[in-house]
Amino acid sequence: MAIDKSSSVSPKAIVELINNMTALEKEELSRLLDVKIFEELRPSKTSQNGRRIGDPKFYLGTTPRGLNLEIPMEKFSSVLQLFLKDISPQKIEIFLSSPENFKELKLTPQAFQNLIISEPDYFINRRALIEMDDNEIITSGGGCISMVLNPAIMRKRNELASKIVEACGYTHQFKRKQFYAIVWDDEMEIKEQ
């Protein structure tokens, strides 16, 4: 049986090797092979400490002072709107940053609302620190968000988190102090403690 040695040692080379076998050799191979051997060769989706590796479709989790989110960026305006409604801030300050440019904006709540309604994509691919009174939101442009909440809003954190989940197209009412919700494929995995 001739094997092209220029092929790299890869699945392609193995397929070529099998294709070059006679029917009898293939039959013998099928008796010897255990599929589990190949499954063990697959790259693991979890790290050594058992945590899954990768970036989920959606994540919402509590932090010591607020919430951490990974949401579809197109939902960011909706999340900002419900945040604006829930905390009713008196003043809003925004610090936008990019490699070439750093800019500060001071807006009234109404002006801010007008901005996110008229330009829902305003924060897409922008890095921004958004301060609503003494609440703080940092976004790095891809739906990756951290919120630091003042004590009054912290007391309503479960309610706010449930609304964010809903704004992103899922449903869950959080009941405990610490929790996370995560979506990798379609189903939402929830842990509360």
Binding site: S47, R51, R52, I53, G54, D55, P56, Y59, G61, T63, P64, N68, E93, F95, S97, S98, P99, F102, E104, R127, L129, E136, I138, S140, G141, G142, C144, S146, V148, Y180, I182, K191
Partner: protein
């Protein structure tokens, strides 16, 4: 505190929060969403900031590190 200092501290907090998640974010995510913004802001502070801004950032980082003490 200047906004640049506050924003830099916030991106550092975001980085710490990612290390505490129940999953391990991809290296690309860490690079794009946290490390590049931090590097840009460090550059801005070096170019246009004051020693006081630098002190505020380090002090802010130290406070965020307290979050890890409870882990």
């Amino acid at each position: 505190m200047k906004k640049i200092a506050k924003s830099t501290i916030s991106f550092y907090r975001l980085l710490i929060e990612h290390s505490l998640k129940p999953y391990e974010p991809s290296p690309q995510h860490i690079l794009e969403r946290m490390l590049l913004p931090l590097c840009e802001q460090f550059n801005e502070i070096i170019k246009h900031g004051t020693k006081n801004d630098t002190w505020n950032v380090i002090q802010g980082f130290s406070k965020e590190c307290d979050l890890l003490k409870h882990k």
